[in-house]
């Protein structure tokens, strides 16, 4: 009978549809699905340290940003990743045309969608904001890139399908022009279920940063390839002005303020990155730690041994970076390595910038009800022997340093309430894409370059005041950059700052230093080990990147467009200089 039924139904045998696909018409008449369309674009943006398609929030995006620059060394290779950039492509890519196509599609289709005008206006502005952001993430890597603002079709003219690169200047102008146009269509604030959406001020913040980058390129960069790379120095002031104005508009809006909720400066600076939606947050990528929207920062950066899956301290902070944090009195402590100078924790770290204790964990940092123990060996009471094997007086010869070359890990954004992490994608701290602190520093930098020295000094001192450091008496370019380095440490800015300042060739072509702590056995009672008070001596470890020293070449100021892209479209040639 089955056979007879089948004969009868032979027509329907071929009448099959994909089950579980939503059609175009349905999407563009339903605000919820339109919202979903744009959600996908948000997810692909990878604000989270700017990795494209960053929806998986995993390994690279967490670790790479700080190991690219002079901040920290990666646990799985001592080589800075810039070594791997060749003409065949490299790391830290952001070629986001798939997302841009989606956004262009959104921008075209929202116009005729069957939804009300306010909805259209806001969503159109959001899509343009994301597109501008995408182009910014590209232009700061590759220089000029093709500027595509419509959905390409296969039968489009060849010159459109095979576009040439716009000049770096045109791309920056496009980004800033777009932001000017769209900002007014974004709401002044996003609250409740809308937190996380860009506001008028998020657009200004992006403008503040992008214009600052453009100004830097104009001021310190070199025009090459007929302007595909570099910006004419005559535009520098214009861009600085734009950045400065955008920063000022945010700072004077009254909507935001530096986070100063807690009296204890260290606690305050830590909570700045752990609490959500506070007054310093201009734009954040939000996480809940559930339903696929958690990231893995805690998993990979927790002190080693407190994460499942061998996670932990994937970035070890260089001693040089540690030294960049000055003392609370404005002085700095030179570490006397491999001498018999006996340190206590208090001497070594007690007077440091509170932001150091809030940004970096090390020997003696409280964690999970305990103190982190980074000692590498114990000198016998008579100093005759360094015990590195077994135990001494009932204390293990080695702490839990696990072969990391420095006893410093990244504490910023680490959530101690998740002191022990069971698996990936569990972190729920928001990633602050733009916070007021950065805007102060952007403002200071632009003001300085424009010659408004007082304003620059004021902005830097505001940041130092909040941090708990004494005010500077006068402002220098170096002081602004130093403040930026420690205030924004491990937030994903440093590498690109060094590039736009064109100082990476000197700042990143070097080796770095690690550190070992040796406890004094004479201070250890049998089986009694007070980590807080046991003194130690320090060994600095030179050249922890191995040999030869890392090199950041002139050409690395731009990533290569790369072979596969230029061969598919020769109009992208010539390749950025130096790549062959």
């Amino acid at each position: 009978m089955v056979l007879i039924t089948m004969l009868g139904c032979s027509k329907s045998i071929l009448d099959k549809k994909p089950l579980g696909i939503i059609s175009d018409a349905v999407v563009w008449s339903d605000p919820v699905l339109i919202d979903s369309y744009l959600n996908q674009c948000y997810a692909e943006m990878g604000f989270y340290h700017e990795m494209p398609y960053g929806a998986n929030q995993d390994w690279f995006d967490n670790v790479m940003a700080c190991t690219f620059a002079d901040e920290a060394v990666s646990a799985w290779t001592p080589n800075p990743m810039s070594h791997w950039i060749t003409v065949a492509g490299g790391v830290y890519e952001y070629w986001s045309y798939p997302t841009i196509r989606k956004l262009n599609g959104f921008i075209e289709k929202i116009a005729t969608a069957d939804v009300d005008d306010d909805f259209k206006k806001r969503y159109l502005a959001e899509a343009r904001f994301l597109r501008a952001f995408s182009y910014f993430n590209m232009v700061k890597r590759y220089g000029g890139v093709p500027l595509i603002t419509k959905v390409q079709q296969l039968d489009d003219p060849e010159e459109e399908l095979y576009p040439s690169r716009a000049t770096e200047e045109v791309v920056y102008d496009f980004i800033l022009g777009e932001l000017d146009e769209l900002a007014g269509d974004l709401p002044l604030e996003a609250v409740g279920g809308n937190t996380g959406r860009p506001t008028f001020y998020a657009a200004l913040a992006l403008k503040s940063r992008a214009a600052m980058y453009a100004a830097s390129i104009a001021q310190w960069g070199t025009v090459m390839l007929n302007g595909t790379l570099g910006i004419d120095p005559s535009r520098a002031t214009d861009f600085w002005e734009k950045s400065y104005q955008a920063s000022q508009d945010i700072m004077t809006s009254g909507k935001y303020g530096l986070f100063e909720k807690y009296a204890d400066k260290t606690e305050n600076f830590r909570k700045l990155f752990l609490e959500k939606d506070h007054q310093e947050v201009i734009f954040a990528e939000k996480f809940t730690g559930i339903a696929g929207r958690g990231h893995s920062w805690d998993m990979w950066q927790n002190p080693f041994g407190y994460s499942a899956w061998g996670g932990g301290q994937q970035a070890s902070v260089y001693l040089e970076m540690v030294q960049s944090f000055e003392n609370i009195d404005g002085s700095s402590t030179a570490i006397q390595a491999k001498s018999d100078h006996v340190y206590t924790l208090d001497e070594l770290f007690g007077k440091k910038d509170p932001r150091f204790k809030a940004s970096i964990y090390t020997h003696g940092t409280p964690w999970a009800g305990d103190l982190l123990d980074y000692h590498h060996g114990i000198y016998t009471a008579d100093w005759s022997q360094l015990i590195e094997v077994g135990a001494y007086r009932g204390v293990n010869a080695k702490g839990r340093s696990y072969g990391r070359p420095t006893p410093f890990g990244v504490l910023k954004y680490l959530d101690e309430s998740k002191a022990i992490i069971p698996e990936r994608y569990y972190s729920d701290t928001d990633y602050l894409v733009f916070r007021l602190g950065e805007i102060y520093l952007n403002s200071a930098e632009a003001a300085f370059e424009l010659g408004h020295l007082d304003e620059a000094l004021w902005a830097v001192n505001e940041i130092r005041r909040r941090a708990g450091l004494p005010a500077l008496a006068q402002i220098t370019r170096e002081a602004i950059r130093q403040e930026r380095k420690v205030e924004l440490a491990f937030e994903g800015n440093r590498y690109f700052d060094l590039r736009r300042w064109r100082t990476a060739v000197t700042d990143l072509s070097r080796n770095y230093t690690g550190l070992l702590l040796m406890l004094l056995g004479s201070e250890i009672q049998e089986g009694q080990f007070d980590l807080q008070s046991t003194p130690f001596v320090l060994w600095a470890v030179d050249n922890i990147m191995g040999s030869p020293d890392p090199v950041f070449s002139e050409r690395n100021y731009y990533l290569p467009i790369s072979l596969s892209r230029t061969s598919a479209n020769p109009n992208l040639l010539p390749e950025n200089p130096g790549y062959q």
């Binding site: 056979l3 979903s36 959600n39 996908q40 080589n79 499942a308 932990g312 094997v389 293990n396 109009n571």
Partner: protein, 1125 residues
């Protein structure tokens, strides 16, 4: 699968007709007329014959009654009779007809057989001395043969064996010759010198000419085949017990590439490629299926259709077709077969880990040689020495391979089958059971499978056959959760499990930490009691009904209806957890927690899929005027597919003891599900014509429609034609006819397809993608599927094949040669390569690429017999290679890109890389280089022990432009097998050597923190300073990891694939205990391997780059007993 020449000249007796099977068919609607027809049988016979031959009379009876008939014995047909029959029923008529003619008749398989009357035992004594002989006739397996005609030469008497194969014959004189004959067996003569008992075993007459093979939607005499068809028979498939049948195929079929990429129980099947093509279509009893879920004992034969012979499968046939046919009942006494095998599996070859001393030494060496500071080295020299010394309990040396694996993993296999039947009903039933355990010692996983089958054939009447098959296989895969079939992560964990940690701690409740890449170690992850499990239960149900109706009014016409319902279920339960691990310092007595406590999580996956297949045939088969054999088939086929799946999970189990969903945390519950459907509709036609067994022609077509494609592009027409010339049957060839048995030329041409592309690519829309959060709510993203391509259709294959079959002097030399050329066009590809990346969309799949394949296959054999010693030796080789005719790619302008990356016009198996010239052995050599490795650091990172690459273009800089072709791909270009079979009395020996050549493997030995031992012994060191060390300097320059001919090496191998030695105990010793046969067998798989890979401690079939990073292939040793009752 046999019938004899005398049969072909006549109507085929039903028994053989059924074995030939599937020729004749019926539509269900004809059931109505069947009733009326059944009555016509009862018609009375009326005839009047005067001096007419018995043949003519029987023809008349056939006309009136419908029975076909058969004369067994000489001169019977020409016996003249005078008889008048009026309104008699059949028995009366036959009685009357044969009265006083010393002839008897009986109905066998719906056929009237007329034969000489046997001499009756109670024949009164005559003057001649008569003696009674008794005996038993069996086949060479010891199975009794029923219905064997036993006669004494030159005497009238004859008898037939009974159901137990025994006979009694009274013979007049000593010194007579007894002749044993039966269709399908070689007629055997025995001198009789007066003994009382004479047992004989008959050999199946496997004459090439008469063998019938399964082909697409039917069977065909091997002699009539015009395509390239190869068959593997049941006896070959059961030579060695294997869990997955595909592992018995390597080396047995010319042009078949079988690569076993893993030894994991339940997932150790070989991937099969015919002629180097992609995955072929596999059909089990006419329906898409999976051979690896079958028990090897239930398979009758496996047929490989390599050219136009596959074309009846149209859009799915382009990569060749594998047809699996299961065993069916036979007309014989019920034969019960029981077999049991005990198998020991052990690793063929795999990397072994270093000791703790060696590993510590290497870690330190790599660290220092990388120029990293001594202070940050993980181990001091003192610690390395402590590991070597092994005296300090804090510096142990744990061999984790030995801790967690066993040398021999057991495997057991049982099967019971019953086979039998009579002229109306024949049946085959099987129960099979397999248990294959993992090499991990403690709860390391196992694969079990149960097979059930019942194949029943019924002759409802002389014209109507009915067939019902039911089969199922139930598979259980029970593994630690990271050790399941889909992941190599367990091997990652293994290579991260360091020998520096003890395998147990003083406090036995604490599990020692051994790194394991964060999992704690392989001792945890390979033990499902600790780490959690992944249990997958899958079952497929398979039900077939078939009706076959021979239309009585049209000779040779039959109708067939076939329906199959197949349902697959899979149910997985995954429970994952990590446990707390500890290190211990013996000196201080301190336990340090090492983390690892995971969030216990349970996930269920449930899926089911069903396939409904309906086939409706019109078959025609007739010989006209003795010379013209015409057969044809028309087929209408529909296949309906549907599947759905559901998954659910919960996290945060407070106790691992209750591993059910309800016990999980409520937060973060997960659930998902989906569904899928597809359909096909096809028309097939085929015509065969043979003239005097000399000129053969087959033409076929198929029209396919598939729901995969849009209405515009879903209909395809696939024609094929093939011709054959049996030269040996030509009259002009007769002078040689005693020498050359077979000489046949074949040629074929076909157009087929491959529709293995995604479904519904002609539609576009949106799926849910990544989520993003606003407020505190995760909102799903929508992602566009891809641009639709309504014109997407199947790949088009055009295959040309030429072949030659030959057989000389009864197998003194036999074999065949085939050569083919295939154009594979319209290969779906995405114009991602040639379109700029700025386009931004996932481009639709389009039919844009094309490949040409060519190859040859040769099989040469020799068989013979001397006294009781018989042998068969056959060797096969196949060569094939593919070339991109067109590959969508950028129009490269750069000469080096054109040379290296351009695929169009190039062999598909090219691999590019750097050319290495050994290792540097001195700084002088490095200093003398006239080119640099790095444009920033020059050669500063190079040291002795690093690989010296050649600046092939001489531009002074070593970069991608210096790459050249360094080898072939990872699929062998040459494959071959050497099959040796020997039999002496009850003893038989079978050996298969198998090899694959011209393929490469990327050697990547290190997959974690632990160095393999081979890296310790074969590495470059300052002391040895060998330019040809297998492993360059540890911690060496980054350039050492470039793909080059240093690490991309030929993986050719020759393997002793199977050996089996069997002994069948002489049935005459067994008949007393009512046992028909008893056979014991010792066999093995993958016993010996000759390969360059041995020097790397690798199996040559290891997946490229995966050395030590996959479950290794196994060699097995089995002992088995096979009992026939």
């Amino acid at each position: 699968m046999i019938f004899t020449r005398c049969v072909t000249a006549r109507t085929w007796p039903g028994k053989y007709r059924l074995l030939v099977t599937m020729k004749l068919a019926i539509f269900l609607s004809f059931l109505l007329s069947f009733h009326a027809f059944a009555e016509s049988r009862a018609q009375k016979i009326t005839l009047n014959a005067k001096n007419t031959t018995l043949r003519a009379v029987m023809k008349e009876i056939q006309k009136q009654q419908g029975y076909s008939f058969f004369f067994r014995g000489d001169d019977i047909a020409t016996t003249r009779v005078n008889v008048t029959i009026k309104q008699a029923d059949l028995p009366q008529a036959m009685e009357q007809l044969l009265a006083e003619r010393n002839l008897q008749w009986y109905v066998e398989d719906g056929t009237i057989v007329i034969a000489a009357k046997p001499l009756l035992l109670n024949t009164p004594a005559s003057t001649v001395q008569e003696r009674e002989i008794t005996g038993r006739v069996t086949d060479d397996q010891g199975n009794p043969l029923e219905g064997v005609t036993v006669s004494a030469q030159g005497h009238a008497g004859a008898t037939k064996t009974g159901t137990d194969g025994t006979y009694r014959l009274v013979v007049a004189t000593e010194g007579a010759t007894l002749v044993f004959s039966m269709i399908g067996y070689e007629t055997t003569s025995r001198e009789w010198s007066g003994e009382r008992t004479l047992n004989v075993s008959l050999t199946a007459s496997l004459s090439d000419l008469e063998e019938v093979v399964v082909i697409g939607y039917g069977t065909q005499r091997k002699a009539d085949i015009t395509g390239s068809v190869a068959t593997v028979s049941a006896t070959e498939l059961t030579k060695t017990p294997v869990a997955q049948v595909s592992n018995m195929l390597a080396g047995r079929v010319p042009g078949l590439t079988a690569i076993q990429g893993s030894g994991l129980p339940g997932s150790d099947a070989s991937s099969l490629r015919i002629r180097g093509f992609d995955a072929p279509l596999v059909l089990v009893d006419n329906v898409e299926g999976n051979m690896n879920t079958l028990d090897q004992n239930e398979i009758e034969s496996i047929t490989f259709l390599k050219d136009a012979s596959a074309a009846v499968y149209g859009s799915r046939a382009g990569n060749g077709v594998i047809l699996i046919t299961t065993k069916r009942g036979q007309q014989q006494a019920p034969t019960i077969t029981f077999s049991q095998n005990a198998t020991f599996q052990s690793v063929t070859n795999m990397l072994r880990p270093t000791s703790s001393g060696q590993n510590a030494e290497l870690i330190r060496e790599a660290h220092l040689q990388a120029g990293l500071p001594e202070e940050t080295s993980r181990f001091t020299q003192e610690e390395v020495d402590l590991f070597y010394a092994g005296t300090n309990p804090d510096y142990p040396n744990t061999n984790w391979l030995e801790e967690v694996t066993r040398k021999h993993a057991p495997q057991q296999q049982y099967h019971v089958s019953v086979r039998g039947g009579n002229d109306r009903v024949r049946y085959y039933g099987l129960v099979g059971m397999l248990d294959q355990q993992s090499m991990f010692k403690k709860n390391g996983g196992e694969y079990t499978r149960y097979n059930l089958r019942s194949n029943v054939d019924v002759n409802i009447n002389k014209d109507l056959d009915f067939k019902v098959d039911l089969a199922t296989s139930i598979e259980n895969r029970d593994f630690p959760w990271r050790a399941d079939e889909k992941e190599n992560s367990v091997w990652q964990d293994f290579w991260n499990t360091e020998p520096f940690y003890p395998s147990s701690l003083p406090d036995p409740t604490k599990i020692p930490y051994a790194n394991g890449g964060g999992t704690g170690g392989i001792h945890i992850i390979s033990n499902s009691e600790i780490t959690g499990y992944r249990r997958t239960n899958s079952q497929n149900l398979f039900g077939t009904m078939e009706l076959n109706y021979r239309v009585p009014v049209v000779e040779g016409l039959s109708l067939k209806a076939f329906g199959n319902y197949r349902q697959d279920y899979s149910f997985s339960k995954v429970f994952e957890r990590l446990v707390d691990t500890w290190t211990y310092n013996h000196e201080s007595g301190i336990y340090t927690p090492m983390g690892g406590a995971n969030n216990p999580r349970l996930t269920h996956y449930h899926s089911r899929s069903k396939v409904l297949t309906g086939q409706f045939y019109v078959n025609y088969n007739r010989v006209f005027a003795q010379d013209h054999h015409v057969s044809g088939m028309l087929l209408y086929e529909v296949i309906d597919y549907a599947s759905d799946d559901i998954s659910a999970g919960r996290d945060n189990y407070i106790t691992p003891v209750v591993d059910y969903l309800f016990a999980g945390g409520v937060n973060g519950q997960r659930a998902n599900g989906g569904a899928w459907e597809m359909g096909r509709l096809s028309y097939v036609g085929r015509v065969n014509y043979a003239f005097r067994d000399r000129y053969l022609m087959e033409a076929a077509f198929r029209i396919d429609e598939s729901a995969k494609f849009s209405e515009a592009g879903r209909r395809g027409f696939f024609p094929s034609i093939s011709i054959g010339w049996n030269v040996a049957n030509e009259p002009f060839f007769s002078p040689l006819s005693n020498t050359v048995d077979v000489l046949k030329y074949r040629a074929s041409y076909s157009q087929t397809g491959n529709d293995n592309v995604g479904n519904f690519q002609y539609l576009s829309g949106y799926n849910f993608g990544s989520a993003y959060i606003f407020g505190d709510k995760a909102n799903p993203g929508l992602i566009e599927t891809s641009i639709a391509n309504p014109r997407l259709t199947w790949e088009e294959m055009t295959i040309y094949n030429m072949g030659l079959d030959f057989r000389i002097k009864q197998g003194l030399v036999y074999g065949n040669i085939d050569a083919f050329y295939r154009l594979r066009d319209k290969i779906p590809g995405s114009r991602w390569n040639s379109l700029p990346s700025t386009f931004g969309a996932a481009l639709p799949t389009e039919n844009i690429n094309s490949i040409t394949n060519r190859g040859i296959e040769v099989l040469v054999g020799h068989q013979g017999k001397a006294a009781e010693f018989a042998w068969d030796i056959a060797m096969n080789v196949g060569w094939n290679r593919g070339k991109w005719k067109h590959y969508d790619e950028p129009g490269y302008e750069d000469e080096d890109q054109m040379r290296l990356n351009r695929l169009s016009g190039q062999w598909t198996d090219r691999v590019i890389g750097y050319r290495a010239d050994g290792l540097f052995t001195s700084y002088d050599e490095i200093g003398a280089l006239d080119y640099i490795y790095n444009e920033d650091t020059g050669n500063a990172s190079l040291k002795p022990g690093d690989i010296r690459y050649l600046d092939t273009n001489g531009d002074g800089l070593l970069n991608w432009r210096d790459q050249v072709i360094i080898g072939n791909g990872t699929t062998p270009r040459w494959t071959g097998g050497l099959n040796l079979n020997f039999a002496y009395k009850g003893l038989d020996l079978s050996v298969l050597m198998q090899g694959a050549f011209f393929f490469y493997q990327h050697i990547q030995l290190q997959h974690g923190l632990v160095y393999p031992e081979i890296m310790y012994t074969e590495r470059w060191t300052e002391e040895s300073n060998r330019a040809d060390a297998l492993i360059p300097r540890l911690g060496g320059a980054n350039s050492n990891s470039y793909i080059s001919d240093y690490n991309f090496v030929a993986s050719d191998y020759l393997r002793l694939k199977t050996v089996s030695i069997g002994y069948s105990i002489d049935p005459q010793y067994l008949s007393r205990v009512r046992i028909k046969g008893l056979r014991v067998q010792l066999s093995g798989l993958n016993l010996l391997t000759f390969s360059k890979m041995n020097k790397y401690s690798l199996d040559p079939e290891a997946p490229s780059s995966y050395a030590g990073y996959y479950y290794p292939q196994m060699k097995t040793l089995s002992f088995g007993v096979n009992l026939t009752l």
